[in-house]
Protein backbone atom coordinates (compact mmCIF):
# COMPACT_ATOMS: atom_id res chain seq x y z
CA UNK A 1 0.00 0.00 0.00
CA UNK A 2 2.77 2.29 0.95
CA UNK A 3 4.45 1.52 -2.37
CA UNK A 4 1.20 2.04 -4.26
CA UNK A 5 0.66 5.42 -2.63
CA UNK A 6 4.19 6.41 -3.46
CA UNK A 7 3.67 5.44 -7.07
CA UNK A 8 0.34 7.28 -7.21
CA UNK A 9 1.94 10.42 -5.92
CA UNK A 10 4.60 10.16 -8.59
CA UNK A 11 1.96 9.65 -11.26
CA UNK A 12 -0.02 12.67 -10.09
CA UNK A 13 3.04 14.80 -10.33
CA UNK A 14 3.71 13.47 -13.81
CA UNK A 15 0.20 14.27 -14.88
CA UNK A 16 0.67 17.92 -14.07
CA UNK A 17 3.83 17.85 -16.10
CA UNK A 18 6.19 18.78 -13.33
CA UNK A 19 8.14 15.54 -13.08
CA UNK A 20 9.20 13.11 -15.76
CA UNK A 21 10.47 10.14 -13.86
CA UNK A 22 9.55 6.56 -14.43
CA UNK A 23 7.59 4.70 -11.82
CA UNK A 24 9.05 1.36 -10.98
CA UNK A 25 8.24 -1.21 -8.42
CA UNK A 26 10.60 -1.29 -5.49
CA UNK A 27 11.99 -4.66 -6.51
CA UNK A 28 12.73 -3.41 -10.03
CA UNK A 29 16.45 -2.65 -10.21
CA UNK A 30 15.68 0.36 -12.38
CA UNK A 31 13.89 1.96 -9.42
CA UNK A 32 17.20 2.80 -7.82
CA UNK A 33 18.91 4.07 -10.93
CA UNK A 34 19.13 7.76 -11.57
CA UNK A 35 17.13 9.16 -14.44
CA UNK A 36 19.85 11.69 -15.08
CA UNK A 37 22.13 11.06 -18.03
CA UNK A 38 25.12 9.01 -17.05
CA UNK A 39 28.12 11.22 -17.71
CA UNK A 40 31.09 9.62 -19.47
CA UNK A 41 34.17 9.05 -17.43
CA UNK A 42 36.88 11.62 -18.03
CA UNK A 43 39.44 10.29 -20.47
CA UNK A 44 43.14 10.44 -20.06
CA UNK A 45 43.27 13.00 -22.84
CA UNK A 46 40.99 15.35 -21.00
CA UNK A 47 43.06 14.99 -17.89
CA UNK A 48 46.21 16.21 -19.56
CA UNK A 49 47.13 19.84 -19.44
CA UNK A 50 44.02 21.85 -20.03
CA UNK A 51 46.19 24.55 -21.61
CA UNK A 52 46.66 22.37 -24.71
CA UNK A 53 44.65 19.18 -24.36
CA UNK A 54 45.44 16.55 -26.93
CA UNK A 55 42.60 16.15 -29.37
CA UNK A 56 41.25 12.63 -29.37
CA UNK A 57 41.00 12.55 -33.15
CA UNK A 58 44.45 13.09 -34.70
CA UNK A 59 42.87 14.44 -37.90
CA UNK A 60 41.52 17.45 -36.04
CA UNK A 61 43.75 20.44 -36.72
CA UNK A 62 45.69 21.88 -33.82
CA UNK A 63 44.43 24.87 -31.91
CA UNK A 64 46.08 27.25 -34.30
CA UNK A 65 44.06 25.83 -37.17
CA UNK A 66 41.64 28.69 -37.67
CA UNK A 67 40.52 29.38 -41.24
CA UNK A 68 42.44 31.79 -43.45
CA UNK A 69 41.16 35.36 -43.28
CA UNK A 70 40.22 35.17 -46.96
CA UNK A 71 38.43 31.82 -46.51
CA UNK A 72 36.46 32.03 -43.27
CA UNK A 73 34.25 29.47 -41.59
CA UNK A 74 32.01 29.21 -44.63
CA UNK A 75 34.89 27.70 -46.56
CA UNK A 76 34.87 29.87 -49.68
CA UNK A 77 37.41 32.29 -51.07
CA UNK A 78 36.16 35.72 -50.12
CA UNK A 79 37.58 39.25 -50.01
CA UNK A 80 35.46 42.12 -48.61
CA UNK A 81 34.01 44.36 -51.29
CA UNK A 82 36.14 47.47 -51.37
CA UNK A 83 33.46 49.97 -52.36
CA UNK A 84 31.06 49.55 -49.45
CA UNK A 85 29.40 52.92 -49.81
CA UNK A 86 25.67 53.19 -49.36
CA UNK A 87 25.11 54.11 -53.01
CA UNK A 88 23.37 52.61 -56.00
CA UNK A 89 25.34 50.63 -58.54
CA UNK A 90 24.90 53.48 -61.02
CA UNK A 91 26.27 56.03 -58.60
CA UNK A 92 29.24 53.81 -57.85
CA UNK A 93 29.86 53.28 -61.57
CA UNK A 94 29.90 57.05 -62.08
CA UNK A 95 32.42 57.48 -59.28
CA UNK A 96 34.29 54.22 -58.88
CA UNK A 97 36.52 53.44 -55.92
CA UNK A 98 39.69 51.44 -56.40
CA UNK A 99 41.61 49.78 -53.63
CA UNK A 100 45.17 51.18 -53.76
CA UNK A 101 46.36 47.64 -52.99
CA UNK A 102 44.97 46.33 -56.25
CA UNK A 103 47.82 47.75 -58.33
CA UNK A 104 50.62 45.78 -56.64
CA UNK A 105 48.24 42.85 -56.02
CA UNK A 106 47.37 42.44 -59.71
CA UNK A 107 51.02 42.84 -60.66
CA UNK A 108 51.91 40.08 -58.21
CA UNK A 109 49.29 37.79 -59.72
CA UNK A 110 50.42 38.51 -63.27
CA UNK A 111 54.07 37.90 -62.38
CA UNK A 112 53.07 34.47 -61.06
CA UNK A 113 51.06 33.66 -64.20
CA UNK A 114 47.57 34.37 -62.81
CA UNK A 115 46.33 37.25 -64.97
CA UNK A 116 42.56 37.51 -64.65
CA UNK A 117 41.91 40.68 -66.67
CA UNK A 118 40.84 40.36 -70.27
CA UNK A 119 42.87 43.51 -70.98
CA UNK A 120 45.91 43.77 -68.68
CA UNK A 121 46.35 47.40 -69.60
CA UNK A 122 43.13 48.24 -67.76
CA UNK A 123 43.17 48.97 -64.04
CA UNK A 124 42.31 46.01 -61.81
CA UNK A 125 38.76 46.45 -60.62
CA UNK A 126 36.20 44.89 -58.30
CA UNK A 127 34.84 42.97 -61.27
CA UNK A 128 38.27 41.46 -61.83
CA UNK A 129 38.53 40.49 -58.18
CA UNK A 130 35.07 38.94 -58.27
CA UNK A 131 36.07 36.97 -61.34
CA UNK A 132 39.23 35.76 -59.63
CA UNK A 133 37.29 34.62 -56.54
CA UNK A 134 34.73 32.83 -58.70
CA UNK A 135 37.52 31.01 -60.50
CA UNK A 136 39.14 29.96 -57.23
CA UNK A 137 35.84 28.79 -55.74
CA UNK A 138 35.16 26.74 -58.85
CA UNK A 139 38.64 25.22 -58.71
CA UNK A 140 38.43 24.56 -54.96
CA UNK A 141 34.75 23.74 -54.32
CA UNK A 142 35.08 21.79 -51.06
CA UNK A 143 34.59 24.13 -48.08
CA UNK A 144 35.98 21.60 -45.61
CA UNK A 145 39.20 21.38 -47.61
CA UNK A 146 39.41 25.14 -47.95
CA UNK A 147 39.08 25.60 -44.19
CA UNK A 148 42.24 23.55 -43.76
CA UNK A 149 44.47 26.01 -45.62
CA UNK A 150 46.90 27.43 -43.04
CA UNK A 151 46.10 30.87 -41.70
CA UNK A 152 49.55 32.11 -42.67
CA UNK A 153 49.70 30.47 -46.07
CA UNK A 154 52.53 32.33 -47.79
CA UNK A 155 54.89 29.83 -49.41
CA UNK A 156 52.93 26.86 -48.07
CA UNK A 157 50.29 26.25 -50.74
CA UNK A 158 50.72 25.25 -54.37
CA UNK A 159 48.62 25.98 -57.44
CA UNK A 160 46.35 28.93 -58.06
CA UNK A 161 45.32 29.00 -54.41
CA UNK A 162 48.95 29.40 -53.42
CA UNK A 163 49.46 32.26 -55.85
CA UNK A 164 46.36 33.96 -54.49
CA UNK A 165 47.38 33.50 -50.86
CA UNK A 166 50.93 34.73 -51.47
CA UNK A 167 49.81 37.89 -53.28
CA UNK A 168 46.77 38.54 -51.06
CA UNK A 169 48.71 38.17 -47.81
CA UNK A 170 51.37 40.53 -49.12
CA UNK A 171 49.09 43.24 -50.56
CA UNK A 172 45.41 42.90 -49.62
CA UNK A 173 46.27 43.11 -45.94
CA UNK A 174 47.84 46.53 -46.35
CA UNK A 175 45.99 49.74 -45.60
CA UNK A 176 45.91 52.71 -48.02
CA UNK A 177 48.42 54.43 -45.78
CA UNK A 178 50.84 51.52 -46.03
CA UNK A 179 50.45 51.40 -49.80
CA UNK A 180 51.22 55.14 -50.00
CA UNK A 181 54.27 54.73 -47.79
CA UNK A 182 55.52 51.89 -50.00
CA UNK A 183 54.71 53.32 -53.42
CA UNK A 184 54.71 57.07 -52.77
CA UNK A 185 51.51 57.37 -54.79
CA UNK A 186 48.76 59.35 -52.99
CA UNK A 187 45.31 57.83 -52.89
CA UNK A 188 41.86 58.88 -51.74
CA UNK A 189 42.54 57.87 -48.15
CA UNK A 190 46.16 58.81 -47.64
CA UNK A 191 47.58 61.38 -47.11
CA UNK A 192 44.44 62.20 -45.15
CA UNK A 193 42.29 65.26 -45.55
CA UNK A 194 41.77 67.23 -42.34
CA UNK A 195 38.31 66.99 -40.80
CA UNK A 196 37.63 70.74 -40.65
CA UNK A 197 37.58 71.34 -44.39
CA UNK A 198 35.00 71.24 -47.15
CA UNK A 199 32.76 68.21 -47.34
CA UNK A 200 34.04 65.12 -49.07
CA UNK A 201 32.47 64.70 -52.46
CA UNK A 202 32.70 61.79 -54.86
Amino acid sequence: MKHMLACLSILSVMLVGSLMTACYADDDPRATSSTATQLPQATEASQTSVEHPTPLDPTIPPFDGLPHRFIGFQGAFNVPVWDDRNLSDEEKANDPWYNPSWVPFSACLADRGLEIRSDPSQAFSQADLDRLLARLNAEYPDPEVNKQFPYHATGKVSGDAGIFFDCAEEWLTKTPREIYEITGVPNLWWPPKPAATESVTH
Partner: protein
Protein backbone atom coordinates in the same frame (compact mmCIF):
# COMPACT_ATOMS: atom_id res chain seq x y z
CA UNK B 1 2.70 -6.43 -7.14
CA UNK B 2 0.40 -7.00 -10.13
CA UNK B 3 -1.23 -3.68 -9.38
CA UNK B 4 2.16 -2.08 -9.19
CA UNK B 5 3.17 -3.45 -12.56
CA UNK B 6 -0.07 -2.21 -14.05
CA UNK B 7 0.56 1.24 -12.71
CA UNK B 8 4.06 1.14 -14.12
CA UNK B 9 2.55 0.49 -17.49
CA UNK B 10 0.17 3.44 -17.08
CA UNK B 11 3.03 5.60 -15.97
CA UNK B 12 5.06 4.77 -19.02
CA UNK B 13 2.07 5.54 -21.19
CA UNK B 14 1.72 8.95 -19.59
CA UNK B 15 5.39 9.65 -20.14
CA UNK B 16 5.08 8.73 -23.79
CA UNK B 17 2.04 10.95 -24.22
CA UNK B 18 3.76 13.88 -22.62
CA UNK B 19 6.82 13.40 -24.77
CA UNK B 20 4.64 13.39 -27.87
CA UNK B 21 2.97 16.60 -26.76
CA UNK B 22 6.36 18.25 -26.33
CA UNK B 23 7.45 17.08 -29.79
CA UNK B 24 4.30 18.46 -31.39
CA UNK B 25 4.75 21.77 -29.60
CA UNK B 26 8.35 21.97 -30.75
CA UNK B 27 7.36 21.40 -34.35
CA UNK B 28 4.76 24.15 -34.09
CA UNK B 29 7.49 26.54 -32.96
CA UNK B 30 9.75 25.79 -35.90
CA UNK B 31 11.54 28.87 -37.21
CA UNK B 32 10.18 30.84 -40.12
CA UNK B 33 13.58 32.18 -41.10
CA UNK B 34 14.63 29.08 -42.97
CA UNK B 35 17.15 27.97 -40.36
CA UNK B 36 17.18 24.35 -39.30
CA UNK B 37 16.77 23.60 -35.64
CA UNK B 38 18.21 20.47 -34.19
CA UNK B 39 16.22 20.74 -30.99
CA UNK B 40 13.08 22.56 -29.83
CA UNK B 41 15.21 25.68 -29.92
CA UNK B 42 18.70 24.97 -31.22
CA UNK B 43 19.83 28.56 -31.62
CA UNK B 44 22.48 30.70 -30.04
CA UNK B 45 22.43 34.49 -29.96
CA UNK B 46 24.83 37.30 -30.76
CA UNK B 47 24.21 39.99 -28.17
CA UNK B 48 24.24 43.73 -28.70
CA UNK B 49 27.83 44.87 -29.04
CA UNK B 50 27.02 48.16 -27.38
CA UNK B 51 24.08 49.91 -25.76
CA UNK B 52 21.91 52.45 -27.50
CA UNK B 53 18.88 52.68 -29.72
CA UNK B 54 18.05 50.50 -32.71
CA UNK B 55 18.04 52.66 -35.81
CA UNK B 56 18.17 50.17 -38.68
CA UNK B 57 17.23 46.54 -39.05
CA UNK B 58 18.52 44.40 -41.86
CA UNK B 59 18.27 46.86 -44.73
CA UNK B 60 18.99 50.42 -45.63
CA UNK B 61 17.25 52.89 -47.82
CA UNK B 62 18.45 56.05 -49.51
CA UNK B 63 16.02 58.88 -48.88
CA UNK B 64 17.33 61.59 -51.15
CA UNK B 65 19.36 63.71 -50.66
CA UNK B 66 20.87 62.69 -47.34
CA UNK B 67 21.71 59.06 -47.95
CA UNK B 68 21.40 58.65 -44.22
CA UNK B 69 20.34 55.48 -42.47
CA UNK B 70 16.74 56.20 -41.62
CA UNK B 71 15.32 56.92 -38.21
CA UNK B 72 11.70 55.90 -38.12
CA UNK B 73 10.86 56.37 -34.48
CA UNK B 74 9.54 53.83 -32.01
CA UNK B 75 7.54 51.74 -34.40
CA UNK B 76 7.59 48.12 -35.38
CA UNK B 77 6.06 48.90 -38.74
CA UNK B 78 9.31 49.88 -40.36
CA UNK B 79 8.78 49.61 -44.12
CA UNK B 80 12.39 48.72 -44.73
CA UNK B 81 12.57 45.83 -42.32
CA UNK B 82 13.03 43.10 -43.07
CA UNK B 83 14.58 43.21 -46.50
CA UNK B 84 13.97 40.63 -49.08
CA UNK B 85 15.77 37.74 -47.46
CA UNK B 86 14.64 35.01 -49.81
CA UNK B 87 16.67 33.60 -51.36
CA UNK B 88 19.68 34.34 -49.20
CA UNK B 89 21.88 36.28 -49.13
CA UNK B 90 19.76 39.38 -48.59
CA UNK B 91 19.47 41.63 -51.58
CA UNK B 92 19.17 45.37 -51.62
CA UNK B 93 21.52 48.27 -51.24
CA UNK B 94 23.52 46.58 -48.53
CA UNK B 95 23.12 43.11 -49.93
CA UNK B 96 25.92 40.71 -49.40
CA UNK B 97 26.92 37.77 -47.33
CA UNK B 98 26.22 39.22 -43.89
CA UNK B 99 22.97 38.54 -42.07
CA UNK B 100 20.96 40.08 -39.28
CA UNK B 101 22.40 43.51 -39.91
CA UNK B 102 21.51 45.98 -37.18
CA UNK B 103 22.47 49.56 -36.41
CA UNK B 104 22.63 50.78 -32.83
CA UNK B 105 22.70 54.56 -32.45
CA UNK B 106 24.75 55.96 -29.59
CA UNK B 107 23.99 59.67 -30.18
CA UNK B 108 27.40 61.20 -30.05
CA UNK B 109 28.76 58.93 -27.34
CA UNK B 110 31.48 56.35 -27.80
CA UNK B 111 30.65 53.42 -25.54
CA UNK B 112 32.73 50.26 -25.42
CA UNK B 113 32.08 47.50 -27.95
CA UNK B 114 32.16 43.81 -27.04
CA UNK B 115 31.61 40.60 -28.95
CA UNK B 116 29.36 38.50 -26.74
CA UNK B 117 27.24 35.41 -27.30
CA UNK B 118 24.44 33.73 -25.37
CA UNK B 119 22.67 30.39 -25.08
CA UNK B 120 25.75 28.30 -25.70
CA UNK B 121 25.01 24.73 -24.55
CA UNK B 122 26.61 23.99 -21.19
CA UNK B 123 26.24 20.20 -21.12
CA UNK B 124 29.08 17.70 -21.15
CA UNK B 125 28.78 17.59 -24.94
CA UNK B 126 28.35 21.34 -25.25
CA UNK B 127 30.66 24.24 -25.89
CA UNK B 128 33.55 24.42 -23.43
CA UNK B 129 35.37 27.29 -25.11
CA UNK B 130 37.53 27.90 -28.12
CA UNK B 131 39.56 30.52 -29.85
CA UNK B 132 38.77 33.77 -31.49
CA UNK B 133 40.58 36.47 -33.34
CA UNK B 134 39.60 39.92 -34.51
CA UNK B 135 40.91 41.51 -37.67
CA UNK B 136 40.04 44.65 -39.53
CA UNK B 137 38.16 44.05 -42.75
CA UNK B 138 39.74 46.50 -45.18
CA UNK B 139 37.15 48.39 -47.18
CA UNK B 140 36.91 51.90 -48.56
CA UNK B 141 34.55 53.35 -45.97
CA UNK B 142 36.65 51.83 -43.19
CA UNK B 143 39.93 53.25 -44.50
CA UNK B 144 39.57 56.90 -43.62
CA UNK B 145 42.07 57.88 -40.93
CA UNK B 146 40.81 58.87 -37.48
CA UNK B 147 40.27 62.61 -37.16
CA UNK B 148 40.10 63.13 -40.92
CA UNK B 149 37.28 63.89 -43.31
CA UNK B 150 35.12 60.86 -43.87
CA UNK B 151 36.39 58.89 -40.85
CA UNK B 152 33.85 56.44 -39.49
CA UNK B 153 35.82 53.76 -37.72
CA UNK B 154 36.87 50.36 -38.99
CA UNK B 155 35.16 47.07 -39.65
CA UNK B 156 36.11 44.47 -37.10
CA UNK B 157 35.52 40.88 -38.09
CA UNK B 158 35.56 38.46 -35.19
CA UNK B 159 36.07 34.79 -36.03
CA UNK B 160 35.04 32.44 -33.24
CA UNK B 161 35.84 28.74 -33.04
CA UNK B 162 33.64 26.59 -30.76
CA UNK B 163 35.15 23.48 -29.16
CA UNK B 164 33.89 20.88 -26.75
CA UNK B 165 35.75 19.87 -23.60
CA UNK B 166 37.93 17.43 -25.53
CA UNK B 167 39.11 20.11 -27.92
CA UNK B 168 37.03 18.92 -30.86
CA UNK B 169 35.93 21.84 -32.97
CA UNK B 170 32.16 21.84 -33.18
CA UNK B 171 31.71 24.78 -35.55
CA UNK B 172 32.70 28.39 -36.11
CA UNK B 173 31.07 31.76 -36.61
CA UNK B 174 32.12 35.14 -37.96
CA UNK B 175 30.58 38.31 -36.56
CA UNK B 176 31.05 41.81 -37.94
CA UNK B 177 31.18 45.07 -35.99
CA UNK B 178 31.49 48.25 -38.03
CA UNK B 179 32.31 51.85 -37.08
CA UNK B 180 34.64 50.80 -34.32
CA UNK B 181 37.67 52.59 -32.93
CA UNK B 182 39.64 49.40 -32.44
CA UNK B 183 41.16 48.37 -29.14
CA UNK B 184 44.19 46.18 -28.42
CA UNK B 185 42.41 42.88 -29.15
CA UNK B 186 42.08 43.83 -32.82
CA UNK B 187 45.17 43.03 -34.82
CA UNK B 188 46.06 43.66 -38.47
CA UNK B 189 46.62 39.93 -38.76
CA UNK B 190 45.26 37.06 -36.75
CA UNK B 191 46.25 36.77 -33.14
CA UNK B 192 44.35 33.91 -31.61
CA UNK B 193 42.87 34.40 -28.15
CA UNK B 194 41.59 31.72 -25.80
CA UNK B 195 38.09 31.94 -24.42
CA UNK B 196 36.11 29.78 -22.02
CA UNK B 197 32.41 29.25 -21.53
CA UNK B 198 32.28 29.82 -17.76
CA UNK B 199 29.02 27.90 -17.32
CA UNK B 200 30.17 24.85 -19.26
CA UNK B 201 30.33 21.36 -17.75
CA UNK B 202 34.12 21.64 -18.10
CA UNK B 203 35.99 24.68 -19.29
CA UNK B 204 38.48 24.28 -22.11
CA UNK B 205 41.43 26.39 -20.98
CA UNK B 206 43.12 26.65 -17.60
CA UNK B 207 44.09 30.22 -18.46
CA UNK B 208 41.69 32.27 -20.56
CA UNK B 209 41.94 35.63 -22.27
CA UNK B 210 38.24 36.31 -21.92
CA UNK B 211 34.88 34.55 -21.55
CA UNK B 212 31.86 34.21 -23.76
CA UNK B 213 28.29 33.28 -22.77
CA UNK B 214 28.40 35.31 -19.58
CA UNK B 215 26.58 38.51 -20.55
CA UNK B 216 27.90 41.70 -18.97
CA UNK B 217 30.50 39.77 -16.98
CA UNK B 218 32.66 39.07 -20.02
CA UNK B 219 32.80 39.21 -23.79
CA UNK B 220 35.66 40.03 -26.13
CA UNK B 221 36.51 43.73 -25.93
CA UNK B 222 36.92 45.26 -29.37
CA UNK B 223 37.31 48.96 -28.63
CA UNK B 224 34.75 51.75 -28.71
CA UNK B 225 32.14 53.11 -31.06
CA UNK B 226 34.06 55.46 -33.37
CA UNK B 227 33.75 59.19 -32.83
CA UNK B 228 32.61 60.58 -36.17
CA UNK B 229 33.01 64.27 -36.84
CA UNK B 230 31.91 66.36 -39.80
CA UNK B 231 32.42 66.68 -42.61
CA UNK B 232 30.87 63.29 -43.08
CA UNK B 233 31.05 61.04 -46.06
CA UNK B 234 27.32 60.52 -46.15
CA UNK B 235 27.69 57.46 -48.30
CA UNK B 236 29.59 55.84 -45.45
CA UNK B 237 28.31 57.18 -42.14
CA UNK B 238 26.40 60.00 -40.54
CA UNK B 239 27.26 59.78 -36.89
CA UNK B 240 28.20 57.60 -33.98
CA UNK B 241 26.63 54.22 -34.18
CA UNK B 242 27.55 50.54 -34.21
CA UNK B 243 26.67 48.30 -37.11
CA UNK B 244 26.73 44.60 -36.42
CA UNK B 245 25.92 41.49 -38.40
CA UNK B 246 26.75 37.79 -38.48
CA UNK B 247 27.80 35.33 -41.16
CA UNK B 248 24.61 33.31 -40.63
CA UNK B 249 21.23 33.63 -38.98
CA UNK B 250 18.73 36.48 -38.74
CA UNK B 251 18.17 39.52 -36.62
CA UNK B 252 15.85 39.11 -33.66
CA UNK B 253 12.42 39.86 -35.09
CA UNK B 254 11.28 41.23 -31.74
CA UNK B 255 13.62 44.22 -32.15
CA UNK B 256 12.14 47.42 -33.56
CA UNK B 257 13.30 50.80 -34.70
CA UNK B 258 13.63 53.18 -31.77
CA UNK B 259 13.99 50.44 -29.18
CA UNK B 260 16.50 50.95 -26.40
CA UNK B 261 18.79 47.97 -25.97
CA UNK B 262 21.51 47.00 -23.54
CA UNK B 263 25.08 46.02 -24.36
CA UNK B 264 25.89 42.34 -23.83
CA UNK B 265 22.29 41.68 -22.78
CA UNK B 266 19.89 42.23 -25.67
CA UNK B 267 19.61 39.47 -28.28
CA UNK B 268 20.42 41.00 -31.63
CA UNK B 269 20.95 38.02 -33.93
CA UNK B 270 19.91 34.40 -33.70
CA UNK B 271 22.10 31.78 -35.36
CA UNK B 272 21.65 28.05 -35.87
CA UNK B 273 24.92 26.14 -36.05
CA UNK B 274 25.37 22.44 -36.66
CA UNK B 275 26.65 20.50 -33.62
CA UNK B 276 25.74 23.37 -31.30
CA UNK B 277 22.27 23.06 -29.80
CA UNK B 278 21.59 26.34 -28.11
CA UNK B 279 18.40 27.27 -26.30
CA UNK B 280 17.67 30.78 -27.49
CA UNK B 281 14.04 31.83 -27.08
CA UNK B 282 11.77 30.72 -29.87
CA UNK B 283 10.38 34.14 -30.59
CA UNK B 284 11.99 37.07 -28.80
Amino acid sequence: MDIMRAMVGVGRGVILALQMLVAVAAAALAPTDGSAWTSPSGRIAVLAGTGGTVSTLECYKLPSPWRAHPWWGASKNDPFSPCNTSPPPPTGIHGGSWYGRTDIQTFGTTPAVYAQLDYLPDSASGVAGGESYATSDLTGCASYAAGTAGYNGIKVKVDIAFRNRFGTQLNGLSVLYEHVAAGPYVWPSAHSYKWNNPTAYQRLWSVEDFRLNDSINGGMPLGNVAQVVPPYDYSCSTGNYLHQASAAGVYNYARFIGEGINARVSDIEFVSLANITGDAPTDR
